[in-house]
C-alpha cells in the first residue's frame, strides 16, 4: 500500500512551534501542521509566505465600486432617463450609499471566494484522515504531517526527525487504511 506520509502528535504548543522550525530548516516543502486553533507564530516558524488574500479582496472591492457607479449612471443617465423631482439623472452624491454597499459586498464575496481558492476548500477528504490520531488536531493536540510526495521524503529520516523534535506516536499512514 502506498504511504500517504508520516504523522507525529504534540500536546504542548511550544513543542510544535520548535518542531515546525526544525522541519522547515530540514528543507521539506510538502508538509503541514494541524492545530485546533490558529497558533501565533507557527506560520512564521513553518516558513509560510504571507497570504495574497488582501490583494484579491482589494480587486473585489474595486470591481464592486465600479459596478455600483456604472450601474447607477448607466441605468439612470443613459438607458432610461427619468426626471424625478428635477433631480440630476446621475450625481456622485446620491450614488454614495450604493457605491459603499456594493464595494463592501463584492469585496466580502471575493474574500470568501479567494479564501476557498487558496485553501482549496471544499476538499472533503484529507488522506491523513484515515488515521484516528489525526482527528485530535480538531480537539486538543497539535499534529505535524509530512507528505510522502515531498522530494526529500525518506521514511526513516522523516520518522527520526519527528521523533527527535519531540513528537509522540510517530507513525506512517497508508492509503485507505483504518488506523487506531
Amino acid at each position: 500500500m502506498k504511504a500517504v506520509g508520516v504523522l507525529g502528535n504534540f500536546t504542548d504548543v511550544n513543542a510544535i512551534v520548535s518542531a515546525a522550525s526544525k522541519v522547515n530548516e530540514a528543507g521539506y516543502t510538502s508538509w503541514d501542521c494541524f492545530t485546533p486553533y490558529p497558533v501565533h507564530g507557527l506560520d512564521k516558524a513553518m516558513g509560510v509566505k504571507r497570504t495574497i488574500l488582501p490583494y484579491i479582496s482589494f480587486v473585489g472591492g474595486c470591481i464592486g465600486l465600479m459596478t455600483a457607479i456604472g450601474l447607477q449612471s448607466w441605468t439612470g443617465a443613459v438607458d432610461y432617463k427619468l426626471n424625478i423631482g428635477g433631480k440630476p439623472l446621475f450625481a456622485l452624491q446620491f450614488s454614495i450609499p450604493i457605491d459603499f454597499e456594493l464595494t463592501v459586498l463584492v469585496c466580502a464575496i471575493s474574500t470568501v471566494v479567494g479564501l476557498f481558492h487558496l485553501c482549496k476548500l471544499p476538499t472533503w477528504w484529507n488522506p491523513f484522515q484515515s488515521d484516528k490520531g489525526f482527528a485530535k488536531a480538531m480537539d486538543d493536540e497539535f499534529v505535524i504531517g509530512i507528505y510522502a510526495n515531498d522530494s526529500r521524503y525518506h521514511q526513516e529520516n522523516v520518522i527520526a526527525l519527528l521523533q527527535s523534535a519531540g513528537a509522540t506516536d510517530v507513525r506512517v499512514v497508508h492509503e485507505g487504511e483504518e488506523h487506531n
Binding site: T35, D43, M46, T75, W124, M138, D140
Partner: protein
C-alpha cells in the same frame, strides 16, 4: 513587567480552567445530548408563534395591506417600526464580532457566535417586515435593478428606499458569510466529535473538509480580519441608511441631521439589550455559566449604559434644536410628541431607554441576573417605542390640521409582529442545538497557555 502583573489579576475569561478537550466536549456535546423537555416546550411555543405570524403574512398577501390599520396620512405603522426595530437588533452582533475583534477584545470570543446568529435572524425578520409591507409582495424583484421590470424601468437610485435595499441585503449577506467562515473550523470539530452517522455526514459537508492545517489557518486568519474590517463600517452604515429613509423626507421630526448617529447608537443599544436577554436564558438552559460569565454580561451592561445615555442625549438635543430652530412645524411636532396623542408612547420610550439603564451605574446591579434581565426587556420595549414614536407622531400631525389623523394597528399587524419573535426564537433555538453555540476554536486560542511563549512574540502579546 507591570502590564504582565495586571493581566494576571484580571478576571479569567473562562471559569473552571477547562482543558482544550473539556471545551470541545462541552460545546460539541450540546448537539449530542438529547433535547430536554424545556427545549422542546420552548421550540413548540416559538414554532407555533412563527406559524401564526407567517399565516398572517399570507393573509396580508392575499387580501392586501388594507387589512392593516394604516390610513391616510399614516402610511407607515407597525410594519416599518418593526423593520427598524429588527435591523437595529442585529447591530450588537456585528459590533461584537467585528469591532471588538479589531480592538482585540478577547472577551468577545464566548459570545460572538450567538450574537452573530442573532444578527442574521433579526435581519431576516427585518426583510420579512419590509417585504410584507410592499403591497404587491410578488413583485419584489422590482426592488432589485433587473432588466425587464415594469415598462423596462430601472429602480430609482435617487431614493433612499432603494439605498436601503442595498444596505440591508449587503448587511445580511456579509453577516452570513462572516458567520459561516467563523464557524467552519468548529463544524470540523463537530464532525470529529459526533457519533451518529447522519450528523457526521451533515457536519462533513458543512465543514468543507477543514483539517486544521496551519497553511489554511494562515489564509483564514487574514480572511477573518478582512471580513471584520468590512463589517465594521457596516455597523455604522446600515442604520445610517435606514435613518435616511426618514431624513431625506421633508416631514418635520424626520428631516434632521442628528438621525444617522442617533439611529446607530440606538441600534447598538437595542442590540446589546437583546443579546443580554437571550444569553441570560441560553447560559441557563445550555448550562454555559463557565463560558458566558458575569464578566461578559457586566461588559455588555456597561455598553448598554453608555449607548443608553447617547440615546438620551439625542432625545434631549432633538427636542432642543426643534425649538431653537424657530421652525414652527418642527417645534410643534416635538411638543406634540411629548404632550399629544402619542405622549404615552413617548414617555414609555424615555422611561425605558433613558431612566431604566441608569441602574447599571452600580456594579452589583450590573452583575445581578434578574436585574439585567428586566432592564434588557425594558430596553427592548423602549427601543420599539422609539421607532413607533418617530414614525407615528411625525405622520399623524404634519403640516395641515385638516389632514391630521390617528393610527392604531389591527390584529393582523400585532400577529405579524408576534410572529417575527416566533421566527427569531425558533431559528435561535435550532441554532443553539445544532451549531456550536460558542466559537470553540476562538475560545481555545484565548485560554491561558494556549499560545506559545516566544521571545519574539512577547511584544505582540502585551
Amino acid at each position: 513587567m507591570q502590564t504582565t502583573a495586571i493581566r494576571h489579576e484580571r478576571e479569567p475569561l473562562i471559569l473552571g480552567n477547562p482543558t482544550l478537550h473539556d471545551i470541545t466536549a462541552k460545546i460539541a456535546g450540546i448537539a449530542e445530548s438529547k433535547p430536554n423537555m424545556k427545549f422542546l416546550t420552548a421550540l413548540g411555543f416559538s414554532a407555533t408563534l412563527m406559524a401564526w405570524g407567517i399565516g398572517c403574512i399570507l393573509y396580508t398577501v392575499f387580501n392586501g395591506i388594507g387589512v392593516w390599520g394604516l390610513n391616510n396620512p399614516i402610511g407607515w405603522g407597525w410594519d416599518i417600526t418593526n423593520f427598524v426595530f429588527w435591523v437595529g437588533i442585529g447591530h450588537a452582533g456585528t459590533l461584537i464580532s467585528a469591532i471588538l475583534f479589531l480592538f482585540r477584545q478577547k472577551w468577545r470570543t464566548a459570545i460572538n457566535r450567538s450574537a452573530e446568529a442573532m444578527t442574521i435572524f433579526a435581519v431576516l425578520n427585518a426583510t420579512t417586515m419590509v417585504l410584507s409591507h410592499t403591497g404587491r409582495q410578488w413583485l419584489f424583484t422590482w426592488l432589485i435593478p433587473t432588466p425587464g421590470n415594469q415598462m423596462n424601468m430601472w429602480t430609482n437610485f435617487r431614493s433612499p428606499l432603494e439605498w436601503d435595499v442595498f444596505a440591508v441585503n449587503t448587511y445580511l449577506l456579509v453577516s452570513l458569510m462572516f458567520w459561516f467562515i467563523g464557524m467552519v473550523p468548529d463544524l470540523a470539530t463537530m464532525r470529529e466529535y459526533v457519533k451518529s452517522n447522519i450528523a457526521k455526514k451533515v457536519y462533513t459537508i458543512f465543514s468543507l473538509g477543514w483539517d486544521g492545517s496551519m497553511r489554511k489557518w494562515h489564509h483564514y486568519e487574514m480572511a477573518y480580519m478582512i471580513l471584520a474590517g468590512l463589517s465594521t463600517p457596516l455597523v455604522l452604515s446600515v442604520h445610517s441608511v435606514v435613518s435616511f429613509d426618514f431624513t431625506v423626507g421633508i416631514l418635520p421630526g424626520w428631516h434632521t441631521t442628528i438621525f444617522p448617529p442617533y439611529f446607530v447608537a440606538g441600534a447598538i443599544f437595542s442590540g446589546f439589550a437583546m443579546v443580554v436577554t437571550l444569553l441570560v436564558i441560553a447560559r441557563e438552559i445550555l448550562d454555559l455559566k463557565e463560558y458566558i460569565t458575569l464578566k461578559h454580561l457586566d461588559n455588555m451592561n456597561k455598553i448598554i449604559l453608555a449607548t443608553g445615555m447617547m440615546v438620551g442625549y439625542a432625545y434631549a438635543m432633538e427636542m432642543f434644536i426643534a425649538q431653537y430652530s424657530g421652525n414652527k412645524y418642527e417645534g410643534f411636532v416635538f411638543l406634540n410628541r411629548a404632550t399629544g396623542d402619542y405622549a404615552w408612547a413617548y414617555w414609555t420610550m424615555v422611561l425605558c431607554n433613558v431612566i431604566s439603564p441608569q441602574v447599571f451605574w452600580f456594579a452589583k446591579l450590573r452583575r445581578s441576573i434578574p436585574v439585567m434581565f428586566v432592564i434588557s426587556i425594558f430596553v427592548n420595549i423602549g427601543m420599539w417605542f422609539e421607532r413607533f414614536t418617530i414614525i407615528s407622531t411625525s405622520l399623524h400631525h404634519d403640516f395641515l390640521p385638516s389632514s391630521w389623523g390617528y393610527y392604531s394597528p389591527t390584529w393582523v399587524e400585532v400577529s405579524i409582529f408576534a410572529g417575527t419573535f416566533g421566527i427569531f426564537l425558533t431559528l435561535f433555538l435550532l441554532f443553539a442545538k445544532f451549531i456550536p453555540v460558542i466559537a470553540i476554536a476562538e475560545v481555545k486560542g484565548v485560554m491561558p497557555n494556549a499560545q506559545p511563549h516566544h521571545h519574539h512574540d512577547e511584544h505582540e502579546e502585551h
